[in-house]
Symmetry: D2
Subunit: 341 residues, 4 copies
């Protein structure tokens, strides 16, 4: 049976969700919804409408058609046809959309911009897949938290993790953003960062804190993680462990991966659509120890990192796979994750 | 008959030349050459070696193979098999390579980083195609000059251009560059800029001057052009004229194209490989007049803009098309240029 | 007789106006007004309140005092004591304040953020001083226009200028700004730029057009100017001419002035308060000709460039000097302008 | 008795050392030395030569005089007149200069760019003043390490520190730098960072590790510190403790200190020469705990932060004060450090 999926909000995340779902052989993308002829929507049209577009609001149809964009119907027309909606609307809109999903008896997965209360489960494909089984409303962890948990959960299952302290060196805008930005300035956030708190929500047996600093770049966050393991683990063992994770790419300075921008360039040169990368990168050069504590740095490709776990969430909500191993394996296979291993 | 092509130097330009040649139905890419396991070469391997790689230097083979990269032979092995080499080696190396091309009796097209004296013709597909017919050694205009001449030549053929004054707001690095960069600074160059002088070399009947300022961005240069036409032309006529050029995309702020980064985002969303764009963009919002003078601003996607004219140069050198119209039409057709018209 | 002056709005411009007025031996700074304990106001306090602070709004007093800032009274208390107010409030507030100035019978000089209609004269100390003589309400040209007109007016008085075409490479934020910024992007504005139009308002015999592009830097705009003179003037004569202007600093790449950031560093090393520079810089390396047209590039220190012309405006409004020569000479002398000549 | 001091290398650090020494009532700045008419040297001349300039190399004199800079003699002429040299030459030159200091029997303090082996003591005014007493050759900790140790040493003396893990978010260039820079990229360094290792050299009883990431900004590094204390200390106690340190400024987001650029703006508005700040800033908003561990973020003003500890080093080398309390108190008093307390 094919799962019918809609994407609400065809922006930075929504476009990538649509493309990711389209690659799943057991899923069918019925359509996407948006409200205005944004550049993303104009590109959809220039490509010949590979996905049907629905108007997410009553007045959206007129605006879209005025720009020459074909519209296949209204939002409820789209939602009515699917099993589940991936809601990547701007923060707060998802909560409003939820009323429509409830009315039409549909499941939904929300992105990190919504409040936790919008969902029954705060979800991560690797860390708590089973909690999402059969759930009606799930919320994905945010981009940083999703990537961070991949590595902490992986360590935790191997040696047990007691606590983590993180520093998030955050990209302040996406490539092409003109509505936000920072020029020659670092900006400090109130600590602890929500990512540390979110990690504790998903992995309640781990204590976490952290500080976030915004930096004027667009190609990926870098997080440093200090993790206190229960059992001692060497630097080499740590690297070997991370090399087995299909959503973590282990890289080195010697190969030419000097920072977040190298990873973006590499993804472009790989021919990945939009130069995207689903995997986080981890630098072998950054893995150090202090006593038993392990410290390392990872790169978070903010535009695309949550796509795999969001697709895992579809699998959990519709119970297509009974456990994390089989669900993530299916997602990884269709997305080509870990094929470099 | 299929033209056999090699690419020397598989860097930012070389990768795009290889991809562009591979799209030409009347050409065959025999292979590419490089000297070390750069990220571009590593990506080629991870993609399964869609192009054969040759070692551009004697000691390159060992370095490449030590990194697990399959090497198909030495530089002369590659050059010996082809009709023409596209040389996108770092500046100065092309002049050294030329001795090999001469020895083996092969034609070559050099990029803007080489000195003009390396070539018989300083070439632009639209402005002086006929000068390149049958030439052995051609040098492409640099990225800014290539895009600039597209627009000035187009105006010139319509209304005659007496003189131009340009201001180049130059991107200082490509995405992923770590060997050059500028942080919170504009940098002034000695005037007149070489692009103004190069324009006069290719279009000797036009007087040109200009100033170049480097800016800390990576997604495309912006050039403002003040052109003095022989015949008066209105703003609307100017815009209409540019809309007919298959290598110029006419855009507007209202559509959401706010600057160079919007164009990069749009190219990514279009699904263009690497988020590249072969065409320059011209903003309708910037077309203004002062007396008879016309002023406008264009965007130059520095990584990919010279690819079409370089392929035109192959056509000229090998006389596959007798004139600019038929040659550029063939290149445009295979690269999909102007399909938005 | 000493002119009594108030400054309304103690922000980036207001602080510098206050310091500039304090240096004029024939003026007395009675106080400054602001609405909240900003960093600028906190610095004023940490310095020991060299200027008296007044609350610009009714509820400002409580907020200021809650932060431990001494407040000397309300806005009308301040305005009532002075001959003229320099209004550097955020755009739009000046128009509201004007009602108070009229009620109390006081003159005022507004900054470029206000609409032209707020004032009787759109003023520039060098270009139209005489128009401001005795005026009640004057508005200064904006930072870019102020610096631009210095050079165009100077050329115009020497050889006559028919028309100019400008490209403004605009800094997008000031050092320390967190409320605006751009990250890795150039942004295009609707042309013609207001600076070209403003130049024509102040110098109605010159035709002007131009394009403005925002860049992600903080230390000064760079403007390229193409000017068509009535009489031919050589490059050397042009440079010699600019060297005589006390508000223009003629610099070169060879001296180490590579761009806008070099000028900021130099001003810091000079010991100028805040690293400010009142003068625009003009690079000899950028002066080129195309036919009779002269092209050159100047740097605009956006935070401080309007201070001298604003002080000139006080002189005009209160008729302390009868003409531009004597007025600007007084201002220059107290501010140390041209002492490097 | 007045200590006679020379500064070798009148660059970013050297200028500030000279100014700092000039403020010490018990010291006399005899002169500074440099090799070429840099902007710093040109500014010195424009200011009227407040400090005598000596040529640091044999051929420097001609170059300086050709630029109109008055030269008071050669390097040995300067060194011969003083008790101690502050060597802020580019990395590696200090080691060569040391031979001259030894020949002339003079003491010297080197900056962080030299190798540790150049000096007898790796020095920090607060952490190991007594080790420097009477030493001939001292090397200052680098800018990041200097600021970091201020806070760790302060905590250590209060509650004992077992270990620290740091993340350094490093500014990649100084304002005005054109010879280095990064554009839209974060760059990862090989871990552990030298700052963690240097901390262990100066404070051998503390275990330290850390990761450094370069960011494209110019106004100060930000370091996050995770410190494991021996005795538990609350967040409020930690903040209260830091408020007592005269070289640490405790700030908050609510006051308007949003990041490194706010601090630079504030220092400019305070009227500090060059907008410099000797003190590190610590954000109350970032102080968090995880178990007993304390985490916090500090700002390092890279251009000026080492000046106080370098002056402390003069005091140690010449034994003008017997202990850290009296030495740092003298330095702080002359530099105005802690006057905001």
């Amino acid at each position: 049976m094919t799962i019918k999926v809609a994407v609400a909000g065809y922006g930075v995340i929504g476009q990538r969700l649509a493309d990711g779902v389209a690659l799943q052989k057991d899923m069918e993308l019925i359509g996407v919804a948006d409200v205005a002829p944004t550049l993303a929507v104009r590109a959809l049209k220039e490509k010949g409408m590979p996905y049907k577009l629905f108007s997410a609001t009553a007045d959206g149809k007129a605006k879209l058609e005025a720009a020459g964009i074909p519209v296949s119907g209204g939002f409820e027309d789209l939602v009515g046809q699917v099993d589940i909606v991936l809601d990547s609307s701007p923060g707060g809109i998802g909560a409003a959309n939820k009323e429509i999903y409830k009315k039409l008896g549909k499941k939904a997965v929300f992105q990190g911009g919504e409040k936790n209360s919008v969902a029954d489960v705060f979800f991560h494909g690797y860390a708590n897949y089973e909690k999402g089984l059969g759930a009606d409303f799930l919320k994905l962890t945010s981009c940083n938290t999703t990537g961070l948990i991949r590595t902490v959960d992986h360590l935790d299952r191997a040696v047990g993790i007691e606590k983590v302290a993180i520093t998030i060196i955050r990209r302040v805008a996406d490539p092409g953003d003109y509505h936000r930005g920072l020029t020659n300035a670092l900006q400090v956030d109130k600590a602890p960062s929500h990512q540390a708190e979110d990690l504790m929500t998903v992995m309640p047996h781990v204590e976490a804190t952290g500080i976030l600093v915004h930096t004027p770049v667009t190609h990926g966050h870098i997080i440093t993680v200090l993790a206190t393991p229960k059992k001692d683990i060497s630097i080499d063992e740590t690297i070997a462990l991370f090399k087995k994770h299909p959503r973590v790419r282990v890289v080195s300075l010697a190969e030419g991966f000097l920072g977040n921008a190298s990873l973006f360039r590499y993804a472009r040169d790989l021919g990945n659509p939009r130069g995207d990368m689903y995997e986080v990168a981890l630098w072998t050069d950054t893995v150090v120890k202090s006593g038993r504590d392990i410290m390392y740095a990872i790169n978070i490709p903010q535009e695309s990192v949550t796509i795999p776990e969001t697709i895992d969430a579809i699998r959990a909500a519709l119970k297509t796979q009974p456990d994390r191993e089989s669900a993530t394996a299916a997602t990884n296979s269709y997305l080509g994750l870990g094929k470099w291993l």
